[in-house]
């Protein structure tokens, strides 16, 4: 019991956090290089060299920060990424925590991410991080609603809120085809909750790094790893909810899962490099006026599909 329900799941999630963050860093560098960013040295070594540098750099102080919250926020975001990774099923039986309510748990990870990101910006007691935090909260509610509708959509045909059941329900037809609006909408949610690329309003260049503009050294390393790990966790959830998870011919289930997660990651990272940061007001308008009604439509579509 100790081995199966505690040690192995913890090891599995830790492994995924580490490898996942490394893969994100390497892929992002490869993509940047392919689009013409000047690069020196080995792409494979670069993330580790950067990690080592952040380990040697001191964690700085600002004037009167909320120390506990400031130090805790990166760790909490990493913990949320770990929770996300824990509910991603690699096969019918290979899943760190196969909760019957894992879809709901993922929903709470998305909601809590908003709290943690705001906390990170607010607790630094500095201007630019604070604006980043405010901006994220303005964005957060709009994407969480979209996510909820889209996830209910995939739970309907499975008649379950368990990711393993959601995957099993795609045996005949993957949700990406059954509910064509679902995955594109969910990918936007992913960019939002990881504040990546076009939806990076919290840690953006116009705020000199936003919520992360005042951190250095190990806390910054944790924050960067957490963001990358969250992207991996999100890819896992997207692959399970829409791309049939471990299902696929010839290859073993976990390998299919890895391929599908990599595909989702690649799309997210490409979008991150190809699109400019969306203006916050335009972003919120787009979410409420266009994407939210589309997510209603997706849910109605899924409901009709489930009834027929």
């Amino acid at each position: 019991m100790f081995l199966n329900e505690l040690l192995l799941p913890v090891l599995m999630v830790t492994f995924m956090l580490t490898v996942g963050a490394y893969v994100v860093a390497v892929l992002d560098r490869l993509i940047a290089g392919a689009f013409g960013a000047p690069q020196a040295g080995s792409v494979w070594l670069a993330p580790m060299a950067r990690g080592a540098w952040l380990m040697t750099q001191h964690a700085n102080a600002t004037e009167a920060p909320d120390w506990q919250a400031w130090r805790l926020a990166p760790a909490l975001y990493l913990a949320l990424a770990a929770i996300g990774l824990a509910v991603v099923p690699w096969s019918e039986s290979l899943v760190a925590t196969d909760l019957v309510t894992s879809v709901v748990l993922w929903g709470s990870v998305e909601a809590l991410a908003t709290v943690v990101i705001f906390l990170h910006g607010w607790s630094a007691n500095a201007l630019l991080p604070l604006i980043g935090g405010y901006r994220y909260v303005a964005l957060g509610l709009s994407y969480i609603l979209i996510s909820m509708f889209v996830l209910i959509g995939v739970a309907l045909p499975a008649e379950s809120l368990q990711f393993t059941q959601v995957v099993a329900s795609q045996e005949a037809l993957w949700n990406v085809l059954r509910q064509p609006l679902g995955l594109p909408l969910f990918l936007i949610v992913g960019l939002g909750m990881t504040f990546w690329g076009p939806l990076n309003l919290a840690d953006s260049a116009d705020l000199a790094g936003g919520t992360a503009s005042e951190i250095s050294g190990p806390p910054r390393l944790v924050w960067d790893v957490a963001r990358a790990a969250m992207l991996v966790a999100f890819s896992g959830v997207a692959a399970s909810a829409f791309l049939g998870g471990w299902l696929g011919p010839w290859l073993p289930g976990p390998l299919w899962m890895a391929i599908k997660m990599l595909a989702v990651l690649l799309v997210l990272l490409l979008l991150g490099r190809l699109l400019p940061r969306i203006a916050p007001e335009r972003c919120v308008t787009l979410m409420w006026v266009v994407l939210l009604p589309l997510s209603f439509l997706d849910l109605v579509w899924a409901g009709i599909g489930a009834l027929l």
Binding site: G36, A37, L45, A49, A205, D206, A208, S213, A279
Partner: protein, 438 residues
Amino acid sequence: MAVSWLRKLASRTQVPVFPVLGKQGDRALRYLALSPEIELVDSPRHASVLLIAGEVPADRFEPLRRVHDQLPYPFTTLWFRSEPWPHLENVPRVEKLDELPGALITAHRELMAGQRDSAPRILTDKPPNPWKGEGDFGQGGEGMMGGVPYGRPMAMNMQDDIRDGLTLDSLTFRLGPFFSAFPPGMMAEITLQGDLVQTWSTQLAPYPQSLDPVFFTARERPVPIAELELARARHHLHRLFQALRLAGLENASLDALRLAQNLSTSSTLGGLRRRLVRSGFFRLSSMEGGVLDPEQARQIGGPAARAAGLDDDLRLEDAGYRRLRFSPACQTHGNTRARWQQTLNEIDQSLHLAQQAERDEVYTSEVDRIETPRGPWSEQGPEDASPLLDEVLPGLEWGEALATVASLDVAAVVNEGGGTQTPDELRVVQGGSGNVFK
């Protein structure tokens, strides 16, 4: 053992450099942006090396000291074409641009290897203003409100919201003169409500910018229009580089820089323009703000004026340009989007003019009245227009305000050409076609 292994690995990372730009320091910035071993960072907290590029005027020393002390240990400094402060005589200095990346790498590696000590703190670790032990919270005022704790006004809603009536606590602060999204040297006092700019007061004007020497030569004698137009296109591409970087399109920004570096009469803008349109730069980014009325547009001049519908362009008065059938193309909306569309059109137009002028060997005819990429230069060169930001930016969201600042070329132009660069360096930095300095 473990530590030395970690430091050895750390020394192999791209060198994170926070650039503090002095006068004409932006050239070093562009050079480093294309150096693979260097990573330019926007926050001093993210840097290992503080680069002071160009001469920093005395009235910016105090902010420079504060930036210096914001770098986390271990860090080091490098002064490029700049005089270190008296008590920092032993810090490394570099004069040649092509030696700069190497010097930065060496500085970082030596720091990691422990061969170089971390730079010392300059300021004492105490609040900039004393904490007044009066009032409920020691803020120096009555009750919870009032007082200026540590010399800063408290966040209070003293002003009505100018957007939608939802009044939030307003926050007043100063930013600059080394904030990466501002023109080099500019400092402003800003009041925000949420992320909405309530008031903007430019405190320090940006440094006067130097133009390509060909513009100064054109004030003395006729010059080949091909050279002039290539230099104009290059100036606009350099500004586009900054704006794209700010918009989160890093790869496209480097493309703009590379195009500027390799610009010749056979260059075309088509690829970069297509890339920008496809990426959604004109539709998704903050583009609606910063609308200039005709009077404001005229004060700034140049592409900003033409983007607001004014067809003022001194090239119309030049016989050489008339021979090339030049006529200015204008936009009408006068906002950030119009300015970037105008800028791209003008780059395109300059490349076509350069091509034609090179083929027909056309020279300018006017020397007293020339159109620089920054605006008209007749009796006086283009002057500082940064006070205009105080009128244009209130009411905009933060992102929109900064996108507007990036789209407006407000810095004055220095009255003399030259500088401290050799012609070879200018070719490297500005990407001269090779025939510019004949």
